[in-house]
Amino acid sequence: MNRSSALALFSMTLLASACSNEANTNLASGPDPKLPAPERGLFPSMKIAEPTAWGDQKPTVPEGYSISAIATDLKIPRQMLVLPNGDILVAEGRGGSAAKLKPKDVIAGYIKAQGNTKVKGGNRLTLLRDADGDGQYELKTVFAENLNAPYGLAFANNKLYVANQDAVVTFDYQPGQTKAAAAPVTLTQLPAEINHHWTKAMTISPDGRYVYVGIGSNSNITERGMEAEVDRAMVWQIDVTTGAHKPYATGLRNPTALAMNPETGQLWSVVNERDELGPDLVPDYLTSVKEGGFYGWPYSYWGQNVDPRVMPPNPKKVAAAIKPDYGLGSHVAALGLHFSLPTMGAKFANGAFVGEHGSWNRDNPVGYKVIFVPFANGRPAGAAIDFATGFRDANGKTRGRPVGVTVDPRGALIIADDLANTVWRVVPNR
């Protein structure tokens, strides 16, 4: 039994100061992560972010880059979209209505809430505009409101696609517009019962014909029953003209961000894996999403590693499970993914930026940063590089938590911070 975790269950004060061992190793990263044996004491190991303000501080970025806050006082910013004219749309909100089924849910819900913002989600899209191109986004205005926990955003052919937690809706969009002209039109209803994992990530095919929507599982590991998992833990392909959908890939526990590799046109996703198997299991991952592919959840993880918590077992599904492409580390909570462009500078020209919200199920926190995974020939090539850090301060308090990351084609990385309710912009110095 882990004593510091036992205390953590009962005392938020102790939570912050317990477990100060900073041996911050997380071996479960890269294309072939090391997977220790599962472990689970009487208490799960936990450490919750204790929020503090940024003050004058900013995230740390690589030499030759600078960072500034381009919008503050948002209402839980999650994902962003850069429109053709350079305007940025920010989706704001918090979803989920999962009932507390066990005494554990009541306690864990309270504890995890300590690490999040107290602001109420905006359920809206905010538009940011830098009209004169000086890097200051002087216009901040509400583009659309009364949405339902909007998250995924996509744009093509003068249509804006918004993935609410219960439906994909569309807006007509003309260049330069700062406010939606009409109420949104529903394209397709999405699975929304319980919504334990409520975020609906979205991206669009290069030809604009399909949107892809990530639908997370309705539990950590089937503890809400198998019936709750119908149409969950998968990526849907939706035809934008008819709204017809089909499961495109399955067994992806919580695909929290989707992106097209501009080099290959291949769909990629970051996926948050299961908890409560120990601090170094299971690695969250970055993977290409193959049509018809099954990625293991709930029966197995990282290929054929069977999860004994799922009964009855399903050896056929275990055998069929695809091993993901690239481990990001266990519990880092990757929530953002966007591929880079040469305008980001030579070192970061080809690869994927990943926003890591940060862990709770681990004594030594991991994540809480934005990393860059270098690519070559459309595949991950080499170790991940820290791109934006400093989201936790020297005293172990948390200033911010990265969510969505979006590359502005003009040469900037936009980062949503849903703890500080801020949008950051990183640019190469010129």
């Binding site: 066990k102 005494p103 554990k104 950590n220 089937t222 409560e276 918590r309």
Partner: protein, 143 residues
């Protein structure tokens, strides 16, 4: 029933109404947890596991309050030995194992099995013995 409180050697009070309700109630709550666990074990239907968690939590609430009565009972006993001590120790043991079982039941899905079922069975047997010791008027103290 006599309410004489003369402190004579070996004298202890019989459990009062509230104490009795708490102790006897925890017997049936622990039984409910055991039966729910047994059904989850046989069906994989997760709702039974949810029932077991709440029944065990309710049992712990009742047993925990009964434990306070048992402690007061013990502190008033002269000498602090024999049945009042046995009753308190048995109830404390039941409560502690029940608490461990509560955390076992906080594990997701099948992770709580088979340990959860085993603990529920042990706790149920313990609370039955505890209740017999604690509620029997002759063993409870009225001499």
């Amino acid at each position: 029933m006599s309410t004489v409180t003369t402190a004579s050697a070996g004298y202890v009070r019989a459990p009062g109404v509230l104490h009795t309700i708490l102790l006897a109630g925890s017997v049936s709550l622990f039984l409910g947890a055991l039966l729910s666990d047994y059904t989850y074990y046989n069906t994989y239907q997760i709702q039974w596991s949810n029932f077991a968690s709440w029944l065990n939590a309710g049992a712990l609430l009742f047993a925990g309050l009964a434990l306070v009565f048992a402690l007061v009972n013990l502190l008033r006993a002269r000498p602090m030995a024999g049945r009042p001590l046995n009753y308190f120790v048995l109830l404390l043991l039941t409560f502690v194992i029940g608490l461990v079982n509560a955390f076992q039941h906080a594990k997701d899905a099948w992770a709580l099995m088979p340990t959860g079922l085993l603990l529920s069975a042990i706790v149920f047997i313990l609370i039955c013995i505890t209740a017999v010791v604690g509620l029997n008027p002759r063993s409870g103290g009225l001499k």
